[in-house]
């Protein structure tokens, strides 16, 4: 049971229930759709850039608590960041979920609130839920019009 509470941290439950930056962004200049065929999670990420800074970012769609909270926390984390900084955050986030524990010792501090997803490590099938929003963000930036999937 403790594992389950590690996974469903208070912050995650809060963002699942009240996702931030939720809904379309009318003046978005980049957007992409992400899909996790395993469980049917489907979300859209909308971006508005100013030069190489992410001026605004929104998401909408449906998904499990992990994917929704991850998308919500991601929008908070990358808003106002440069593209390079956002990319670095994703790298750190990815390592947190899948990397060698000894290498990522310092990662949580840099990740700020995103560190609440550390518990996902113990649930390998749920890693895709946590990374879906980030993959979709990448696709939006790359201008991929095709839907990205986690498979």
């Amino acid at each position: 049971m403790s594992d389950l509470m590690d996974l469903y941290q208070e912050v995650i439950l809060d963002h699942n229930k009240q996702p931030r930056n939720f809904g379309p962004l009318p003046d978005a200049d980049h957007q992409a759709e992400g899909y996790n065929p395993l469980c049917g999670d489907q979300l859209k990420v909308y971006l508005k850039l100013a030069g190489d800074v992410i001026e605004d970012v929104h998401f909408d769609g449906s998904g499990c608590a992990i994917s929704k909270a991850s998308a919500s926390l991601m929008t908070e984390a990358v808003k106002g960041k440069t593209l390079a900084e956002a990319e670095e955050l994703f790298g750190g986030f990815h390592d947190l979920l899948t990397g060698d524990p000894s290498v990522r010792a310092e990662a949580p501090a840099k990740l700020g609130k995103l560190a609440v997803f550390e518990g996902v490590r113990e649930f390998p099938v749920r890693v895709k839920c946590a990374t879906l929003a980030w993959h979709t963000l990448q696709a939006a930036l790359a201008g991929d019009s095709e839907q990205v999937t986690t498979e």
């Binding site: 509470m5 469903y8 049917g40 999670d41 998904g63 992990i66 749920r126 839920c129």
Partner: protein, 420 residues
């Protein structure tokens, strides 16, 4: 149900010794996270009794040789084992002739075979194939591919709110353009038991051939293809307590005899020269390459096991377990059952409040309760009910009331985690 029938059902259910049955299945002794496994994902695949595991292992130890081509003793033994499995399957579904059983990889393979070798030749541009809104992707996509290739149209009979096929619409869809009907006997996503006899009858009134996807029915019901009168019946070993990677297609012999091969290769020929190849008679014509011999032998052992337990007793026990599980689940706060058809097999698809199925699955898994979450390879069914995914508990005759209780207790934990 009449009183007498109800009483029969009840008698069969009480006479059912589930403890002894559970001892036949090694997986029933497994633990996950230190808790006994409650395996409620039988519509995805079933666990295997010791006799099936042993039959396959025994074949590898003592009968392993290729079939139909050796003069040596071991090959003769292997061929006998393989053909005896075919005979068991023919008996199991009451086929008129053993040659009407084609070994395939599974239900999906069987449906693709019929689409490619039977329906393709009957389909002109503008013709139609009729399926139902209940179908598994494997009984949708092969027909879609074929329709695309031939410029034909796929017509779908809708579901009502309970998860029954709208029979008026189904009857209306059958027309002089319909060349094929393909229907599931039992829905994997909702558990609906289709009134398949009537549906076949309606198609036959217009001389339309029918394929029945029996993947979910064969493990739970007595199947009689002659009584059903369908042209094709497809089913998989792994859903009926046999090995993975093997299944059977029943096809009426006169039709199989007229059909061109599905794949080319060894085993399916009579003579080969560079100018011309003559094909073997069915079923060999459709079994190119070395088949899954060990799998077929295990499949035969699974049939033996099912017959030993008795399909009538299995059905009665599962009906009783379904009624119990339905009653318990309906008392879970915020739980909505998806699929409440008039006749149902032991499949319970549900959503809990606004908690996503995937989260439900993870929470139950921690309790040792294995269910399926997602779209169950039936996305159109999910769309029909406006949900992206459901949680699904699917029961088999080795499941118990106590396991259903653990499912319900596990669902109680959702509130602990998510509040509400």
């Amino acid at each position: 149900m009449t009183d007498a029938l109800a009483k029969n059902h009840a008698d069969a259910a009480t006479a059912f010794d589930v403890d002894s049955i559970r001892r036949d299945f090694p997986a029933m002794q497994l633990k996950v996270y230190g808790k006994p496994l409650a395996y409620l994902d039988n519509a995805a695949t079933s666990q295997k009794p010791e006799s099936v595991i042993e039959a396959e292992a025994h074949w590898y130890r003592e009968s392993c040789a290729n079939v139909h081509r050796g003069v040596h003793a071991l090959s003769v033994k292997a061929t006998a084992a393989y053909e005896s499995a075919r005979q068991k399957l023919a008996g199991f579904i009451n086929a008129a002739n053993t040659r009407e059983i084609v070994f395939v990889r599974g239900t999906t393979d069987a449906i693709n075979l019929v689409a490619g070798s039977f329906a393709r030749n009957r389909l002109d541009p503008g013709d139609e194939i009729v399926i139902s809104g209940l179908e598994h992707h494997s009984n949708i996509v092969p027909w879609q591919l074929l329709c695309e290739e031939r410029g034909a149209k796929l017509r779908v009979a809708r579901l009502d709110d309970r998860g029954d096929v709208d029979m008026d619409e189904y009857a209306r869809l059958l027309s002089e353009r319909t060349r094929m009907v393909a229907l599931s006997h039992i829905s994997n996503a909702l558990g609906t038991i289709n009134p398949i006899e009537r549906m076949i009858e309606l198609a036959h009134e217009r001389d339309i051939p029918v394929l029945v996807d029996g993947a979910q029915a064969a493990p739970h019901k007595k199947i009689d293809v002659q009584a059903l009168g369908c042209e094709f019946y497809a089913f998989s070993s792994h859903k009926m307590f046999g090995p993975t990677g093997v299944g059977a297609l029943y096809g009426r012999l006169d039709l199989l005899s007229e059909m061109p091969p599905y794949q080319g290769g060894g085993e399916m020929i009579r003579t080969v020269s560079f100018d011309k190849t003559e094909y073997a008679e069915p079923p060999a014509r459709f079994e190119a390459g070395t088949p899954n011999i060990a799998g077929a032998v295990g499949f035969g052992a699974a049939v033996d096991y099912l017959l030993k337990v008795g399909l009538d007793r299995i059905e009665a026990y599962e009906d009783e377990l379904l009624a119990y599980a339905t009653e318990r689940l309906l008392k879970v706060p915020d739980l909505r059952l998806i699929g409440t058809a008039r006749r149902k097999a032991a499949v319970l698809s549900f959503v809990v409040g606004d908690v996503h199925a995937h989260d439900v699955g993870t929470i139950l898994d921690q309790e040792g309760v294995a269910i399926r979450t997602g779209h169950h390879c039936a996305q159109p069914v999910m769309e029909r009910y406006g949900v992206p995914a459901t949680s699904r508990a699917s029961l088999a005759f080795y499941n118990t009331r106590e396991e259903v209780d653990r499912l319900v207790a596990g669902l109680g934990r959702i509130r602990e985690v998510f509040g509400g």
